[in-house]
């Protein structure tokens, strides 16, 4: 990467706001708010009842507090739970009907919504604050019987599929933030891949928080029917604001017999400024069920943004011979905090899981890997391999690894390897002596450190992710 590019990117380049007129729900969390959301989305009665059930459950739940990063108490009555650009109150039929300002926003973010250009051959669902504004390549996908639309649309048009699977991986009463999401989720993506179908392109959702004082609660549900395959990518950005904004999403994946889901995330929510003011609280629940035999779910995440990242994309390996994978890069700089990892629950026989986690900490940041590997007694002949590497830059940051390991049968094996290293002055000197400046040298060494994970990303995003890794750590080596 060129030095000039780096310099231009010194600040969070997605920090702009778009001036569009919004429709908002009443402020605060109440039955009224939930009814408002359900009504504006023209939801069927069962959906509203489901939401209210979650809301009732929420009243008796408490926010979890076992995590390492602490945060000031969130006043849930001070937030808006729904915000949508006025121009999309009727879902636009084509891209021409979308507010040009919103299209401009996505252009600035580098997300091509214009199908004519067919730039990357990636189908995109764009979520702006609380609503999905555009889904591309729909026709081509429909021909194969693939459903890729916003969850709101799926609730109306494919209620049987939604009813059958929604909440089956993350139950209504799971934990505080997941239940909050179930009560107030606003939009997100829905994917269904029919049996024996390989999705011909990457599916992608791009999340953008624009409005202030707004939480984003999206819900994604992906179902890969028997023998199917899909690769899905999500990206996220938000404007720079000095308030902390809450993002509590739920993502549920279901893989049936012989199906495979590859889910990649490049998370670049606004991380707050250099002093730690502002930034997104990224409290997300992601869980996949390998429900069928020989199924596979693979999570890849590149987490560079957010003031606090708190998430554990997990796999429940129910089917025999099913495979769960988790590849993660978590970068924290300045005052960012991350408490992230995965859960691999082995239930079926001969199940395998693999965890590769790369944590990079710079500035005053704190980076924690926390992961659970739980092999139940019936999951005979199962295996897990875990590798957690931490890289420290400077003297004020922290890295921690907390593995929880449970093995309930003698035929299964669990391996755990962990390393912590400091970025090496000698390596930097060697690179400098070969003509690389400090930023180039750091970028090279860090990208090398993350390589095993970067390799898992779809090609188009791997390049972006590499740049993001370099930008996130800018100025962190003196």
């Amino acid at each position: 990467m060129k030095t000039e590019d780096l310099k231009n990117n010194k600040d969070y380049k997605y920090g702009f706001t778009t001036d569009v007129e919004n429709i908002r729900s009443p402020k605060g969390l109440s039955e009224e708010t939930i009814k408002f959301i359900s009504k504006i989305k023209k939801e069927p009665k069962w959906m509203l009842e489901w939401r209210l059930k979650a809301f009732n459950r929420l009243k008796v739940l408490k926010e979890p507090n076992w995590q390492k990063p602490k945060y000031p108490k969130i006043n849930y009555q001070d937030l808006y739970y729904y915000s949508a650009p006025k121009s999309t109150s009727e879902k636009p039929k084509s891209l021409d009907e979308i507010d040009p300002k919103i299209l401009e926003t996505y252009k600035k973010l580098g997300i091509p919504l214009d199908e004519q250009k067919r730039l990357n051959g990636i189908a995109v669902d764009a979520v702006f604050d609380s609503v999905s504004v555009a889904t591309t390549f729909k026709d081509e996908l429909t021909k194969k019987g693939i459903i890729f639309c916003s969850i709101s649309e799926a609730i109306q048009k494919h209620p049987d599929l939604v009813k059958k699977y929604l909440g089956t991986v993350i139950p209504l009463s799971d934990h505080y933030f997941a239940t909050l999401n179930s009560a107030v989720f606003t939009d997100g993506s829905f994917v269904y891949i029919p049996p024996n179908t390989k999705c011909p392109m990457e599916l992608s959702t791009y999340f953008r928080i624009n409005a202030s004082e707004t939480g984003q609660f999206e819900r994604t549900l992906i179902i890969a029917d028997k023998g199917s395959y899909v690769s899905y990518l999500e990206g996220c950005t938000a404007p720079m604001r000095d308030e902390n904004q809450l993002h509590a999403a739920n993502v549920e994946l279901v893989a049936l017999d012989d199906a495979e889901i590859k889910y990649s995330t490049v998370q670049n929510w606004y991380p707050g400024d250099e002093k730690g003011v502002g930034g997104i609280y990224n409290f997300v629940t992601k869980r996949g069920a390998c429900r069928g035999n020989n199924s596979k779910i693979s999570w890849t995440q590149v987490e560079t943004g957010s003031a606090i990242t708190w998430k554990y994309p997990s796999c429940i390996l129910q089917g025999d011979n099913s495979v769960g994978e988790f590849y993660s890069i978590a970068i924290t700089n300045n005052f960012q905090k991350a408490d992230t990892g995965t859960k691999m629950i082995h239930l079926g026989k001969n199940t395998k899981s693999k965890i590769i986690s790369k944590g990079i900490s710079a500035g005053n940041a704190d980076n924690m890997y926390r992961g659970l590997v739980d092999i139940k007694n019936k999951a005979i002949n199962s295996r897990n391999y875990t590798q957690c590497d931490s890289l420290l830059m400077g003297n004020k940051c922290g890295a921690h690894t907390i593995p929880y390991i449970k093995n309930n049968n003698a035929s299964s094996t669990i391996e755990h390897e962990a390393t912590t290293t400091k970025i090496n002055e000698e390596q930097l000197y060697y690179c400098n002596q070969r003509g690389l400046d400090q930023e180039e040298a750091v970028s090279l060494i860090v990208n090398g450190f993350c390589k095993e994970v970067l390799q898992q990303l779809p090609m188009e995003f791997a390049v972006e992710a590499q740049k993001l890794v370099a930008i996130s750590l800018e100025g962190s080596v003196g």
Binding site: Y429, N432, D437
Partner: protein, 244 residues
């Protein structure tokens, strides 16, 4: 090309170089020999701009004072150091590293950067000149390389970067006779009237293959004796004690 006057260097309160003088002209090969702890590697580090040294005296490189220049600026202006212990960089393949390096230097010199294909052609050519297997280029930089492979990789980098002043810091140590010959051939094939070499070594062995114009004996941070290539041969016989 290089004029060193009264160079002193201190690190961690240890006074290592104590008034060193040295002039190197284009086309010359200088060898520096000396016992352990005499300051040989310190001289290499100070010339390449490693952090942590407190420097007094003057180093001029092509008329420009080096003290103001960072490590990468010196490299970009044509100073190359073949490391005694080349560093491992996990996850970065050798080819990528070398291309990044070549392009950083080309960019600084106002030349066009090489695209991946052009570079691949160039590096394969240079590698084959040194008898280096192509597979070597796709391995992670220096990771799991044998001592000889690491040193050959340093010489490959030298030939790619085409420096004006090449400093070889004990490149011969830990080499078997075949590797030593490859390293020496690399130097001899690159040597011309416009570039210069500073070869730091313990032993005469390397100098059997690379004939120096001058041999300097470094002791206690100073050059105490300078001669032609015969001096190296003499040192091999008598040891340093008779001179120091």
């Amino acid at each position: 090309m290089l004029n060193i006057k009264n160079l002193e260097a201190t690190i961690d309160n240890k006074h290592i170089l104590r008034g060193l003088n040295l002039d190197i002209k284009p086309g010359e090969v200088h060898a520096i020999m000396g016992p352990n702890g005499s300051g040989k590697s310190t001289l290499a580090n100070v010339l390449s701009g490693k952090n942590g040294y407190e420097i007094k005296g003057d180093i001029k490189y092509n008329g420009e004072s080096l003290s103001e220049l960072s490590t990468e600026e010196r490299a970009q202006k044509g100073i190359f150091l073949a490391f005694q212990y080349p560093l491992e960089i996990p996850g970065v393949n050798t080819n990528t590293f070398l291309r990044t390096s070549v392009n950083s230097i080309r960019k600084a010199q106002g030349e066009k950067e090489l695209d991946a294909l052009t570079f691949l052609k160039l590096i394969k050519e240079k590698a084959s000149e040194l008898g280096i297997d192509e597979k070597f280029l796709s391995r992670q930089l220096n990771v799991g390389f044998s001592g000889g492979e690491k040193k050959k990789n340093e010489i490959l980098q030298m030939k790619l970067l085409q420096p004006k002043l090449s400093i070889l810091d004990e490149t011969d140590s830990g080499l078997d006779i075949d590797a030593l010959r490859i390293v020496a051939d690399g130097v001899n094939s690159y040597k011309n009237k416009n570039n210069a070499f500073l070869i730091i070594t313990h032993y005469q062995r390397l100098l059997d293959y690379i004939k120096p114009d001058f041999v300097h004996v470094l002791s206690n941070g100073k050059i105490i004796k300078t001669g032609n290539s015969d001096l190296g041969v003499q040192l091999e016989k008598t040891g340093y004690l008779n001179i120091v």
